[in-house]
């Protein structure tokens, strides 16, 4: 069937069927950015979505700062400074659930069929989605939460570098988790199920952690879990950075551990999600 390439004529010359590695990599990056742009445009076209997904974490700040906060003892640090690192992590994790619903929505609507029939990188649908939802949008909500926190009295107590690093740790951890959300979205497939499934596993992880209350106040069996799980580790690491090391019970090691968790999650879940995407019909 040598005729096939012959008949392609000019178009085949423009689109070599076996691009080199550099070209391939370039395509991967372009594909990912195009997909990320598509997902970000969703927030521009549906400002409601961004608005309501921002209101929820604000309500949590107010709820904990004013309703529960009075009853929570955090020796050595005022509660709003204790709370904000937890809120930041909660925000990015709850936000990651939109990756789950968004992907399930795409799968149910057939647009993924179009993407899969295109000569684009297989990973780009997921990489673009997680880049848009898991990183860029999260950075926006993190900024918003920091502003709300500042109004309520939150202050960075460490250096500017530590402040910046704290945002970096939050963003990286949120990005890593969005790949777990992506996998769940691919597995659940329909948006309604994804809505629930994307959320339930995050909920206990966030609340059985050091995000809102010191883990020492929990029963022993729960402490055993709460102390070592990645969300506590990350919250402690962020708390170390925002407090400039002044908060009790936190250490620089928490920051490194959190980064390791993030890297480990990416190493495990990026391949799993891409594999599931290839298999999804």
């Amino acid at each position: 069937m040598s005729n096939a390439t012959h008949a392609a004529g000019g178009s085949a010359a423009r689109r070599p069927s076996e691009p080199g590695f550099a070209r391939r990599l370039g395509h991967n990056v372009t594909d990912t950015l195009v997909m990320a742009q598509r997902n970000l445009l969703r927030y521009v076209r549906l400002p409601r979505l961004l608005m309501f997904s921002s209101i929820q974490p604000i309500m949590f700040v107010v709820l904990f700062a004013y309703v529960f906060g009075g009853a929570i003892r955090t020796p050595g640090v005022n509660y709003i400074n204790y709370l904000i690192p937890g809120i930041l992590i909660q925000t990015v994790l709850f936000g990651a659930t939109q990756t789950t619903t968004g992907l399930a929505d795409d799968l149910s609507k057939g647009i993924v069929d179009r993407f899969r029939s295109l000569p684009m990188a297989r990973s780009a649908v997921l990489a673009g989605r997680t880049l848009a939802d898991g990183l860029l949008r999260n950075l926006f909500t993190v900024g918003l939460m920091l502003a709300v926190g500042a109004i309520l009295g939150f202050r960075f107590e460490g250096s500017a570098w530590q402040a910046l690093a704290s945002v970096g740790v939050v963003a990286f951890f949120g990005y890593a988790f969005s790949w777990i959300s992506a996998l769940i979205g691919l597995l659940t497939r329909d948006p309604e199920t994804a809505q629930v499934a994307g959320f339930i596993w995050v909920f206990p992880l966030v609340f059985a952690s050091s995000a809102f209350v010191p883990v020492e106040t929990m029963p022993h069996w729960l402490q055993a879990f709460a102390k070592v799980q990645p969300i506590s580790v990350t919250v402690n690491g962020v708390r170390y950075l925002t407090s400039g090391g002044a908060a009790p019970g936190v250490a620089p090691g928490d920051v490194w551990q959190s980064l390791l968790w993030g890297a480990g999650i990416l190493l495990a879940f990026v391949p799993l999600a891409v594999l599931q995407y290839r298999r999804a019909v």
Binding site: A8, D31, V34, D113, F115, S117, L118
Partner: protein, 346 residues
């Protein structure tokens, strides 16, 4: 050298216990419209998904433009376009953004993708709506946008999976006009449809698919000629005219079928108009009171029903035996069935 764009040989695919494709074979020529005609659940979409690299076949061989759909997907994808049953566009993007996005994913440069998007928007009469989000489009506009998206990358083979399902008659006509225009441009097109009219209107060659098999293949004329022959329809005035007519028609055409209640005779007309003339002469000579005489061409609808319908009715036949009056038609059915089988094994 060959002029085959799509080659499918004994392809099978099952989902659990459901055998979606049960040994499909077909060859679609280059630069033509190949119609895949069949009822819901016949396996059309499954075949399209296999040919567009969305699904792997369980067994058999399938190549598009010489690329194996299993092992050569990367090379195939830039050369094909797919417009599916569900308009696969992003509703939150504008029409133009959708097309630019697809162009970028075909790895056109940004400027080229934009230029190309405007070109197809113009062609599909979507220019005025280009800046609106696809959410605000009507069903027909969405399909047009979907079709436009499949053309952005200048595919050499285009797959249209039920392009007009769910459209109102006017939008369907518009869609047909667009598709015909595409074909004029020399594209190879594989179109699935459950509408005979659509296959008749658009396709150069048609494969009739049922239960995951190709049960007949040919041009629409070939299918009509091969599977259901022309008939002379005769309507008489009184019941006694029926017998007189039948006697006078002996030796003309094929074995006549009689419907006593409606006073009608249907006479197979292998020689078309010549059979008609001869029949009229004989009837006139026998002084039969005629209400109506005419040559009737079978519609593709009847071909389709005779092909797919008999499968369901197969078990029911034979036991009845009471269909003596329509005996000839029953015999015809058998012939059609045999022909359909030949087609499958061919």
């Amino acid at each position: 050298m060959n002029d085959t764009a799509i080659h499918v040989q004994s392809v099978r695919k099952s989902f659990g216990s459901v055998q979606a494709l049960d040994g499909v074979s077909l060859d679609a020529p280059r630069g033509k419209v190949f119609g895949l005609l069949g009822p819901n659940g016949a396996g059309k979409t499954t075949l399209v998904r296999i040919l567009t690299t969305l699904l792997l076949p369980d067994a058999g061989e399938a190549t598009v433009l010489g690329h194996d759909v299993r092992s050569d997907r990367e090379a195939l994808r830039p050369r094909i376009g797919l417009a599916g049953q569900y308009a696969a566009v992003d509703e939150n993007l504008t029409g133009r953004e959708n097309l630019v996005m697809v162009g970028r994913l075909y790895h056109l440069g940004l400027a080229e993708a934009r230029r190309r998007a405007d070109e197809v928007l113009e062609r599909f009469e979507l220019r005025d709506a280009a800046g609106r989000t696809a959410k605000t489009y009507s069903g027909g506009m969405r399909r047009r946008l979907d079709l436009a998206a499949s053309l952005v990358g200048r595919p050499e083979v285009l797959f249209l999976d039920e392009p007009t399902t769910g459209l109102d008659p006017r939008s369907r006509r518009d869609m047909w006009a667009l598709i015909k225009e595409l074909v004029g441009g020399g594209a190879t097109l594989l179109l699935t449809t459950q509408y005979l009219e659509e296959a008749d209107e658009l396709a150069d060659r048609i494969a009739v698919v049922d239960h995951g098999r190709v049960i007949a293949e040919g041009t629409s004329d070939e299918l009509k000629a091969q599977l259901a022959r022309d008939y002379v329809e005769i309507g008489v005035e009184r019941p006694e005219d029926l017998d007189r007519a039948l006697r006078s028609l002996e030796g003309v055409g094929g074995d006549a079928g009689v419907e006593r209640e409606s006073l009608r005779i249907s006479l197979p007309a292998p020689n078309g108009a010549r059979t008609l003339l001869e029949a009229v002469r004989r009837l006139d000579g026998a002084d039969v009171g005629l209400v109506d005489v005419g040559l009737r061409r079978p519609s593709l609808d009847e071909v389709f029903l005779s092909l797919t319908g008999h499968q369901a009715g197969q078990q029911g036949r034979g036991a009845g035996g009471g269909g003596a009056e329509r005996g000839t038609n029953a015999r015809d059915d058998e012939e059609r069935e045999d022909e359909a089988r030949d087609e499958v094994t061919a």
